[in-house]
Structure formats: C-alpha cells, structure tokens
Amino acid sequence: MAGLELKNIQKSYGSVEVIKGVSLSIDDGEFVVFVGPSGCGKSTLLRMIAGLEDITGGELFIGNKLCNAVEPRDRSIAMVFQSYALYPHMTVYDNVGFGLKLARTPKDVRDQKIRNAAKILKMEHLLDRKPGQLSGGQRQRVAIGRAIVRQPEVFLFDEPLSNLDAALRVDMRMEISKLHQTLSATMIYVTHDQVEAMTLADKIVVLDGGVVQQVGSPIDLYQRPTNLFVAGFIGSPKMNFVEVVVEAVNEDNIMVGSKDVARLGVPATVAGVKVGDTLTLGIRPHDLSPATNGAVVGRVSLVERLGNETIVNIELASGIPWLAVLDGDQALRVGESIALAADPAKAILFDRTGQALLAPIA
C-alpha cells in the first residue's frame, strides 16, 4: 500500500484554471474523501491522480514515485467509475478479470483472484451474468470487484453511489467502509454528498472553486469549520447564519447581539475584533432547544414531525429563515412564536471575510 503527496497541483483548460494549487498529504491506508459542490474540481483532482487528466503544474507522488508523467496502468491504482464502466459484452467474470488478462496473469492465478474477489463481495453467483442482467447494486459490486482484483496500492472512487437509490446507497456505503477495513488500502473517494463524506472518511478534503477549503477529520470539520463555506457545507441540515454586532469583547469570548438574537457570549479568538464590528453568527440546527427565555426568537413557518425529532423552520425577526432540529415530537403550530436557547459553546463567529474566529483548543 502507499500514501500520496500532492504538491501545489494545478489544472487549467486553456485560460480557465480549475484546480488552483492543491497541496495535500494522504497517509498509507487512509480513507480520504474529496467533497464539494458540483464544479468544485473534486473529480478533476481524482482523475489527475488516476492519470486520466494531465497535470498542468505541481507534483504528484504515489508512494515515493513522482507520477506526473506516468501512465495510469503504471500508477498501481484502480478506479471505480460513477457509471461503473462495465463492458456490456463481457460476463461479470470477464469484467472482473479484464485487467489481469491484459497483464497476462496466468489463467489459474487469474481464476483464483476473480473467485476470491467475488467471495469478498458476495457475488459468486453472478459471475456468468452480463452487466445488463444485474441490478444497480450488483453492478456496483462488480465494479468494486474489478478494482480489488488488481490489488492496487490506491483505490479511487468517483461518486460510486450516486446512481443508486437511497436505501441501497446506505447499504453500499457500509460495504465500502467494511472493505476499507478488510483491505486496509489507501482509498480516495469523491462525492458531493456530505453524509457519505462524514460516514466514510478518515480525512475529508473540502473543495470549492478548485481550492482546498479545509482538510480534517469529519468531526473536526463539523465542530471547527475554518470558514463560512465549510460551516455551511458540512452538516445536515446546514448551519444557520445571521449577522450580529459585537457588543463587548472579553478575554476569551465575544458578546454579540442583534434584533434576531439576544446577547450571546461566544467563545472565540478575540484579536482584532472591536465593539460595533459586524460578524456572522453560525449555529447548527441541532444545537438549538426550546426555552422560555431563549436567545433566538422567531415565528414557526413549517413543522416536520419525524417522530424521534421535529424539524422546525423558523422566520427570525429580520425575515431570515432558520432551522431547528428539536428532540422528540414537538406539537408546534405554524404561525406561533418560538424562543430557542442556543449553546454558545457550540456557536461559531465568522469575520467579514468569512473566516471563523475559532477559540483556541483548551
């Protein structure tokens, strides 16, 4: 197995720069997820690692080998495509063994490897079928089988679950996670689904506009996003934001308030912040709870009662829509006033440039 090192990787199509100097270290055996909205460059970055796109600038090391000009077949990688890319004229057996056949692996060794991969993926009964005779989940399994049979050092997944329905997606997500544990291989996984990112990754790389916004563990990104984009992208439902004014700057927290939010002392880096500055306050919907004298007051605009929790859409005094996810079944009515308490320790302040004023870790 091998780690990867990306040093100032750039990609341009003519004058359009799509990857703007990405530097990243991926450890051996790590499960890394590239996540970001459509067009952020995550698939392009993956394809550059695979060797399917040329690297305009920077250096890519797989293991300790500089791979900028190395052909895909010599990079010791395998890739699972969004479309699965299974050859329709070949059986599952032939699809899985195609790479080995090209590598002139002896027939008996090839057969053993194919059957072993089929056993791992529980698809031994599918080996004689053609892709057209398989369901979406089965095709996905075959595509993964084709990757693992080659025993690559790095697995690349390009949105592999996006063609599956919601239930199957959850199942396959768990299977990929188990596969990572079984194979202990380095895996790089591209998705726009932040739930997939949070559940699968050892490390998440959030991309936007061809720039890495933040790299970190899922929980780190959730609890300590470095900017407004990451705060808004990671977490479901997404974080609530509102503009607030600084009322007091204390040693380790900033007192903020507005007509939407009553005084709240948020732990933050206070350097450079003055009374009267306008900041953005971010609070996750799960960090709000009903309280008679809560700091956040609004009017209920929609109630979604899910049984174990209640998702409440609220309109703040200034008209800004917020979401609150409340425990249990809350019998709220549309139009009524609601006061919510916000845990200041979990709130985050962002400056005018969108950077988080995170309090240092104690």
């Binding site: 399917l52 077949r73 890739m79 479309s83 050859y87 090209l102 590598a103």
Partner: protein
Amino acid sequence: MTAVAAPALPKRRSLYPGWFYAPAAAVYSVLFLAPTLASLYFSLTRWTLFDATFIGFDNFAQFFREPFLVQGLVNTVIYAVVTSGLKVVVGMLLALMLTSEIIARGYLRSVIFFPVLVSTVGVGITFTVLMHPTQGMINQTLAFLGMAGPGWLVDPRLALFSVALVDVWKGVGLATVIYIAGLVAIPRDYYEAARIDGATKLQNFFYVTLPLSRPATATVITLSFIGGLRTFDLIWAMTKGGPGFASDTIASVIYKQYQAGFYGLSTAGNVVLFILIAVLVVPLTMFLNRKQGHE
C-alpha cells in the same frame, strides 16, 4: 375457505383499431403485395406483354440449366461478400481516423461522404474511363511508376472485382458515417477503465471499440450486403456484365433477359433473386442482432 376462480371472459376483439391499419394496408397491397404475387404468377408462365401461358416451373428449370445464369448467381454472392466486407473494414478504419484528433476532421468527413451523393451511372462512366487499359489515368500513372497496370475491366478474372472496388469507393462514405455515429456513442468511461487496466490502443480496439460498435457493424453489413446482392447500375454502366459473362450478376442477367423478350424467364430470375436475398439476409440479420446482454 376455497377460492373460486372467476370464469375467464371470452376475449372480444374490436374491429375499430383495424381501420387505422387500412390505409397503409391498401397502399402496401397495391404497390408491394400485388406486384410480388403477380411476379410469382408470371414466373410460372411464358408471357408477352399481352398474354401469358402457364408452364409450371419450366422457367426455373431453364434458369438453372443456363451456365451463365448460375455464373451470375455466383458472381452476385461474391460481389455482395466482397463489397460488404470491404465497406466494413474500410468504413471502420476511416471512422476511427475521423473520430480521432486530426486536422481538418470536419472537411475530411465531407470529402469521404461526397461519393455517396454522386450518381452511380456517373461514377461508373468516370471509372470506366479511368480504368481503361491503355488510356486510363490509373494505368498511365502505374506506367509512369514503371509498373504494368492490369486490364481492370477487360480481364475476365478482374472485371467483377474492379467494379466491386468502385462500389466500395462510392459506398464507403455511408458506412463511415454509420460507424462514426456508432463510435461516438461509446461512453468514454469504457476507454478510461481500459486505460487504467493497462490496455494498449490495439487492445482498446479489440476489447472495447469492436464489440461495442457491433450495432453499427450489423447495420453496415446488412445494408451493403443487400445492396451488393441487388447490384445492377454500376455493373451495367461499367461492363454490361462483360467481358463475356464474367461480371454478370443476377440483376444484369435478368435485365438482359427482359431486353431479349424472355419475360417469364427473367421474372423467374427475379423470384430467385428475392429468395436468395431472403435466404442469405434473414439468418445473417438474426445472427448480427442476437442479444448480447446489452441494456
């Protein structure tokens, strides 16, 4: 409790939908069915334009007794196999070239399709001049290069193949266009997956391009094979079936029979051609279009 199956209701077919078929059925009957049945009848007769005498299968017996007619039958099959085979190979190669990153790709696509638009008789006359054994540009060019050119259209062993080559030149543009449509429809992912698996360009062709362009191949083979079996205009424009009967095909033989006034015999020839096409093309089409597990 025992479930009792309800008695099946007798199916009642309404005549109403049938009326929608009626106009097409009328046109088909008048323009296709009636002439076909008339041909079948007249092939069993000795007839002039004004009267017909029923003679059973005598026309067919005579047709197969005439050595030049059998020769025409063999030539027809050879011509169809050669032209369709060459159109598949050349059409595929041209399509591969015209779907790759080459300069003036759009212009070259037009150039290759251009012969399809030209009149077959015009092409035939032009190539007859070009292939003239002494005065033709082809042999003059070969002579300039120090080679003796063959008698393209006057050598009995070559005449049929010379016409077939011209047929390929004229028709390969259509095959190329069909292949281009087939090739551009192959998803790029297959090539990328093969590239990661370590496929060379040649392996890409044999394992991805060739099998996935099978629908295009089936179309090209079927169209050109039927076209080859029915060929007449190019043969007539270039050799009139000669020298002797060397390049006669069944269609040119039938035409000659009509010219000579043997209407019954030539109609029997047409029936034989019809059966020949059906016998060869139906199984060929079934083979080419057999299910391959495609979605």
